[in-house]
């Protein structure tokens, strides 16, 4: 097991973060603090910048930080490559996990697990030890072992891909798990299995950031904080009751309170970002 020391320092501290892709500003001053033991939910319309924020935290090379900072355990992530971020405990569960033909899922899981273990001062697992370790984690997500012998995510259904993401999370034991729309495309049973897995992995030593559109994931995993993003900013933060209110009222009232008058304008802007 990978254990990180508990500290009073915020696990993740984002300050006045502005970012762009291909010269287009997408994040316009994000402030967000996440401490150990907390579960946060980030909600918002398509194109509001949620996935961009998650990729920025994980270090996607296509996005450029133009102002502000992202600190993880006090370390500035700006110049840190994605693999280093993973090794120090940041995990991004992808909305659309990529398919990589020819790369064995089992080998990929073993290499990534060992990268994290070595960075945490643990010994690498040999093939046999890794298989034992893997078996335990498979049960957590109730995944068919046959998927281990296949190429990474190749031909997996949407639900199988998401299970594979949570399996990776279980193996890497991150300090901060960011799950980008992990609930999308899941049937009710798969959602329950994924949610149970996430809940079992969450603890006082780590933190979770759930990016979602729907209350149904938050019915299974109760967040400590809910944030609403629009137009590259976090417009509102509250407790879990905010998600319920969004479910009832939609996002327009948030826009109005923030002084954004037109929903059409918001959608247009979102579509522009997506394009």
């Amino acid at each position: 097991m990978i254990v990180s020391a508990a500290t009073s320092e915020p696990l993740l501290e984002i300050s006045n973060l502005r970012a762009s892709v291909a010269g287009q500003e997408i994040l316009c001053g994000i402030n967000l603090t996440i401490n150990q033991g907390e579960i946060h939910a980030l909600m918002g319309r398509n194109g509001s910048g949620k996935s961009t924020l998650s990729k920025l935290i994980a270090g996607h090379p296509s996005y450029e930080i133009t102002a502000g900072s992202i600190r993880f355990r006090g370390l500035d992530l700006a110049q840190m490559p994605p693999e280093e971020r993973s090794r120090i405990g940041i995990f991004l569960g992808f909305q659309y996990p990529v398919e990589i033909p020819g790369v064995s899922n089992r080998e990929f899981l073993r290499v990534s697990t060992n990268a994290r273990r070595v960075a945490s001062g643990l010994e690498e697992l040999d093939t046999f030890s890794f298989d034992d370790h893997l078996q335990e984690r498979l049960e957590l997500v109730q995944m068919d072992p046959a998927f281990l012998g296949r190429s990474l995510n190749e031909g997996f259904s949407g639900g199988e891909k998401k299970r594979n993401e949570i399996l990776q999370m279980a193996l890497l034991e991150p300090d901060l798990a960011i799950l980008d729309e992990t609930d999308s495309g899941l049937d009710i049973d798969a959602l329950r299995i994924i949610a149970d897995g996430v809940k079992q992995l969450a603890g006082p030593q780590n933190a979770t950031l759930l990016i979602t559109h729907y209350q149904r994931l938050l019915d299974a995993i109760t967040p400590d904080y809910v944030h609403v993003m629009a137009h590259g900013r976090i417009l509102r933060t509250a407790g879990p009751e905010l998600a319920l209110e969004l479910e009832r009222r939609g996002y327009d009232w948030i826009d109005q309170e923030a002084g954004i008058n037109s929903r059409a304008e918001a959608i247009e802007e979102a579509e522009h970002e997506l394009a």
């Binding site: 994980a58 270090g59 090379p61 296509s62 995990f91 990529v98 033909p101 990929f108 290499v111």
Partner: protein, 395 residues
């Protein structure tokens, strides 16, 4: 004395007709369409007078001991095939010292055959009778530099016969390897051919095959080629009566200044034939890959089902790919498809791996290996034993 003349006269003439043809035609040049992209500098850089026939090439048993496999290698003088140590007994239909002077058929791209037929070299003739089966391995790993290996394989499979043919070649520095296969497949017979062809600095490989298939026969070829200064392969398959299955899988890895050139021809001379062709090349540094894939479906070949896919992975700004699918389809009731892609490593795939703690360097290596794996998976263990591609693909 020009280069060809020096080569032929230094190493002895196998067929005077071929030698005459060769000396009259000379070296192929860029004005000939099949050779338009092929730079023969690596070939002419080899000094004909310094090339020596390869000596014994296998010591000890195969890395992957398979007692049922007939293993062939070369004798001390490099002039004849002999049974290798640990080989199963040769079947009655295998003749190792046969000099067959028959020249190649009249093919447009027969230069490689003519070159090989011009020079004395080892050859074998294998005839498998009805319903016979055999596993045969050819292991040619010259130990001396500037080696000349000129191997000719002639195979005839009677109805229902089955042959698994493994060709393992590891060229030495500045060596010239000429390799040809002529095979006739009877009805319901099966030829599974796996080639693992590893080059060396300055080494040149010229290979050609002519496979003629009767109805209901199956020909499956998987070839991996890498590390040659120049590797030119010319597989040619004719389904004489249609109704047969052909699978062609080729992987080329071209780095540094390597040139990998594959010119394939598949012709359907009857109805309801089937082809699945996958060609992949990984091109790095100033490497170059050339693919010309001809599929000929004349009017009598109704019901043909042929697919051809060419995929290139470009890893350097200096790397170059020339890909040319050449489908000539006259029959109107057929299903023929082809696709060709040339791309570099996908940013999202790299990021996905890096986001799991895998270094960029290791991610690149895994992606390269993954790209190749789709072909390598078809090589039997005996064809990949002792020559791991992972070492080649490490950054």
């Amino acid at each position: 004395m020009n280069w060809l003349e020096a080569l032929v006269k230094t190493h002895g003439i196998r067929s005077q007709n071929s030698a005459d043809y060769l000396l009259k035609e000379g070296l192929p040049h860029r004005r000939l369409e099949p050779w338009r992209f092929t730079d023969l500098t690596a070939l002419t850089n080899l000094e004909p007078l310094l090339l020596k026939k390869s000596g014994p090439v296998v010591h000890g048993q195969s890395p992957l001991f398979a007692p049922d496999v007939v293993r062939l290698t070369l004798d001390e003088g490099g002039g004849n095939f002999v049974l290798a140590q640990g080989s199963a007994a040769a079947p009655a239909g295998l003749r190792l010292d046969l000099e067959n002077p028959a020249a190649s058929k009249d093919l447009d791209s027969a230069w490689v055959f003519q070159l090989q037929n011009s020079i004395v070299g080892p050859s074998f003739n294998l005839v498998l009778g009805a319903a016979e089966s055999l596993r045969l391995e050819l292991c040619l790993n010259p130990t001396n530099s500037a080696a000349l290996v000129n191997a000719k394989m002639q195979i005839s499979l009677a109805e229902g016969a089955s042959l698994e043919l493994f060709v393992n070649i590891k060229g030495s520095t500045n060596s010239l390897v000429l390799l040809t296969l002529q095979a006739t497949l009877g009805q319901g017979s099966s030829l599974l051919e796996a080639q693992n062809l590893i080059g060396a600095e300055g080494a040149v490989l010229l290979s050609g095959s002519e496979v003629n298939q009767a109805a209901t026969s199956s020909y499956e070829r998987t070839a991996v080629v890498h590390g040659w200064a120049l590797a030119r392969q010319e597989p040619r398959v004719v389904q004489n009566e249609g109704e047969a299955h052909t699978f062609l899988r080729d992987l080329a890895i071209a780095a540094e200044n390597n040139i990998c050139d594959l010119h394939s021809v598949v012709r359907f001379d009857g109805p309801n034939g089937r082809l699945e062709q996958l060609q992949k090349a990984l091109v790095d540094d100033a490497g170059r890959s050339i693919f010309n894939g001809a599929v000929q479906v004349p009017k009598l070949a109704q019901g043909t089902d042929a697919s051809q896919l060419s995929r290139h992975l470009l890893l350097s700004d200096r790397a170059r790919v020339d890909s040319k699918p050449e489908l000539a389809i006259v029959a109107d009731d057929v299903r023929c498809s082809h696709g060709a892609t040339i791309s570099s490593l996908a940013t999202d795939e790299l990021f996905y791996m890096q986001s799991r703690g895998i270094s960029r360097q290791q991610a690149v290596s895994l992606l390269k290996l993954g790209f190749c794996q789709q072909i390598i998976n078809f090589l039997p263990p005996i064809a990949v034993s002792g020559c791991s591609l992972e070492a080649v693909l490490k950054p």
